[in-house]
């Protein structure tokens, strides 16, 4: 699981992106969060053989990436990293559903392939939307938005703490793993016993750290409540942003734009 190392690096990069300075970055996180959720719901609500109608939805992540000055190739790579799961589960569709749905010349295209492509497209759209949300907003800010939207405080505080200590603890674990790998040679040092004691030690140290943090919190007046100052303003810009995208999603959801356009064009040529 050493790729967690690299993934963490990625998290750092996402946080850097979130410190950008475009109007999208400054938008109230609640607006961005809710719009992204609306987008995901709109996308996954399509029927399973729907393909062309979903394509226009790419406009949302692409517009965000462009307006937010995000690195497209980097985000695309991140989507690709997690793609195998959808590729794997989806591949059963063409194997099982072999009923021909339509013909393209002499090629018979089965429903399974269409639904497979549909799964992949949903996957790309939803993952991209989630990634752009984080890259534009930053994890901590998304958490604070969650709280303002009514998510219980203990859960939000839990998220913030987890995120904060993710880096500290993975660093510690990486040091442990490295120290072991330097001394394993060919014997069975990678076995279960040393593993259990390493994880156990890490856990004990983690528990001690939790205690120290608690003391540090108490020293600064902690009495069970974590105060966070983060004024959020839900103004006209947020309303404009949300209404705009809500209308776009509704339009694209109920009118198959590509189909209409395609019909128009094919009619021109026939």
């Amino acid at each position: 699981m050493l790729n967690i190392d690299r993934n963490l690096f990625d998290i750092g990069r996402m946080d850097t992106l979130a410190m950008g300075d475009t109007p999208l970055h400054h938008l109230d996180p609640r607006a961005k969060l809710m719009t992204t959720l609306a987008f995901i719901v709109a996308v996954v609500s399509f029927g399973k053989y729907e393909l062309s109608a979903m394509i226009p939805f790419f406009i949302f992540p692409l517009a965000q990436i462009a307006k937010g000055d995000l690195p497209f190739m980097y985000l695309l790579r991140k989507v690709m990293i997690v793609a195998p799961f959808a590729l794997f589960i989806g591949i059963f569709n063409p194997l099982i559903d072999r009923e021909t749905l339509f013909r393209l010349g002499s090629i018979h295209i089965s429903g399974g392939w269409i639904s497979y492509l549909s799964i992949l497209m949903r996957f790309a759209l939803t993952v991209m939307a989630a990634l752009t949300l984080i890259a534009l907003t930053g994890f901590n800010t998304v958490c604070l938005a969650l709280e303002k939207l009514g998510v219980p405080r203990p859960f939000v505080v839990q998220l913030l703490f987890l995120y904060r200590y993710l880096f500290v603890l993975t660093d510690e674990a990486a040091r442990l793993a490295r120290a072991r790998s330097l001394r394993v040679f060919e014997s069975n040092g990678m076995g279960f016993k040393p593993f259990a004691s390493m994880v156990g030690h890490l856990l004990l140290r983690t528990l001690d750290r939790a205690q120290r943090i608690h003391i540090a919190m108490c020293c600064r007046g902690f009495e069970g409540h974590i105060p966070i100052l983060r004024p959020m303003r839900f103004g006209i810009r947020e309303i404009r942003y949300m209404t705009f995208w809500a209308m776009v999603f509704a339009l694209l959801r109920f009118y198959n734009l590509p189909m209409q356009m395609g019909l128009l064009i094919t009619r021109l040529f026939t």
Binding site: L37, V44, A129, F139, P152, A173, S197, V199, P258
Partner: protein
């Protein structure tokens, strides 16, 4: 066993979101009531620990593959069910947001599958009774408890994945195949997880016995205190059923509730009928809710599906149009994106 957004329907995702949100709210309330300030940083740091511990792996003897800590049961042992559930939920949320492991809509499903079973079912009803039983707590009892709790928890979780996927109807995977694929894999994972949990808990037990032996919430295991959780679950199930049947009847063609779709497939000997039958059978067996919405739905679309084709009738002409139009929109979307980018750069 993270589910992805692409494979679930809004109704299934939404219903599981509701269930999970309820559990989070309830657990938050409980944690707040416990009034243990020290738990605030402890939960957060343990969540990070779960990530960190996954960087340390070991070689599984005789297989050549490697295993690592999953963590749900350890959290339950150290924190008690409510705090552990919140911690697992936060771990899965971070995975969803950063590693794009699972998705936002699937978050409810994932938290439920991986958090609910270990925290509220196998920890209180399997691990604690075995570990705390009448005799003294021993390493052997702990191993048995941890092993059983992990295996059962993962089996339940894996089965939930299968059910949620089937109800969503996006994947064509037949029920039987999916179950046969998921359950044995998760049996193996569960056994490894059981050993790891027992070993790590055993380690902590030796060093800091008070953390393990004390029951972090001694009263919750009594049936009385589990009642709100079970009632909450019952309500969620009713809502799920209601939502699904409503969607199925109100919006028969837009949202295609293909879970019971029985349009025949010539090549295969009606695998879907198999799913349908086994699902119905299963429901009869597991019907903890007598008037579960599915039973009625199950029969309805069956009749409907026979008369209407599975997709709004498609002629060759419209499909070509769809392809052409699709390509065009994609092109347009890219152009608009590029345009926005250029304008953005320009204005700087």
């Amino acid at each position: 066993m993270h589910m992805a957004d692409a494979l679930i329907s809004p109704a299934a995702g939404g219903a599981m979101w509701a269930a999970t949100a309820g559990l989070i709210a309830y657990s938050s309330k409980k944690v707040r009531e416990e009034m243990d300030d020290g738990k605030v940083p402890l939960m957060g740091v343990l969540g990070a620990f779960i990530f960190a511990a996954q960087m340390i792996n070991f070689t599984i003897p005789a297989t050549g593959s490697s295993g690592h800590l999953g963590g749900g049961m350890i959290l339950a042992v150290l924190l008690g069910p409510y705090a552990a559930f919140l911690t697992i939920a936060s771990v899965i949320t971070v995975q969803a947001l950063f590693f794009a492991d699972g998705g936002l809509l699937a978050l409810g499903c994932n938290i439920f599958n991986m958090g609910f079973w270990p925290c509220f079912v196998t920890y209180p009803f399997i691990f604690r009774p075995i570990f705390n039983g009448p005799a003294t707590q021993t390493q052997g009892r702990m191993l048995t408890g941890a092993m059983l709790a992990c295996v059962v928890g993962l089996q339940l979780g894996a089965f939930s994945v299968v059910l949620e996927t089937l109800f969503s109807g996006i994947s064509e995977l037949p029920f039987g195949t999916f179950v046969l694929m998921m359950q044995p894999i998760h049996l193996a994972i569960g056994i490894v997880e059981g050993f790891v949990t027992a070993a790590v808990v055993g380690f902590v037990w030796k060093a800091r016995p008070e953390l393990v032996t004390h029951d972090s919430n001694p009263t919750y295991a009594s049936p009385n205190n589990m009642r709100p959780v079970l009632i909450g679950l019952l309500i969620c199930a009713v809502i799920t059923g209601a939502a699904l049947s409503w969607f199925a009847s109100a919006n028969p063609d837009g949202l295609e509730w293909a879970m019971f779709k029985t349009s025949s497939h010539e090549e295969l000997a009606n695998p879907e009928k198999g799913i349908h039958a086994s699902l119905l059978h299963l429901q009869k067996k597991t019907a903890f809710l007598p008037d579960y919405g599915f039973k009625a739905d199950g029969a309805e679309p069956k009749a409907e599906a026979e008369s209407t084709p599975s997709w709004p009738a498609v002629s060759a002409g419209t499909s070509v149009a769809g392809l052409v139009g699709g390509a065009l929109t994609l092109f347009l979307a890219v152009i608009i994106g590029l345009g926005l980018k250029r304008r953005g750069n320009h204005s700087k």
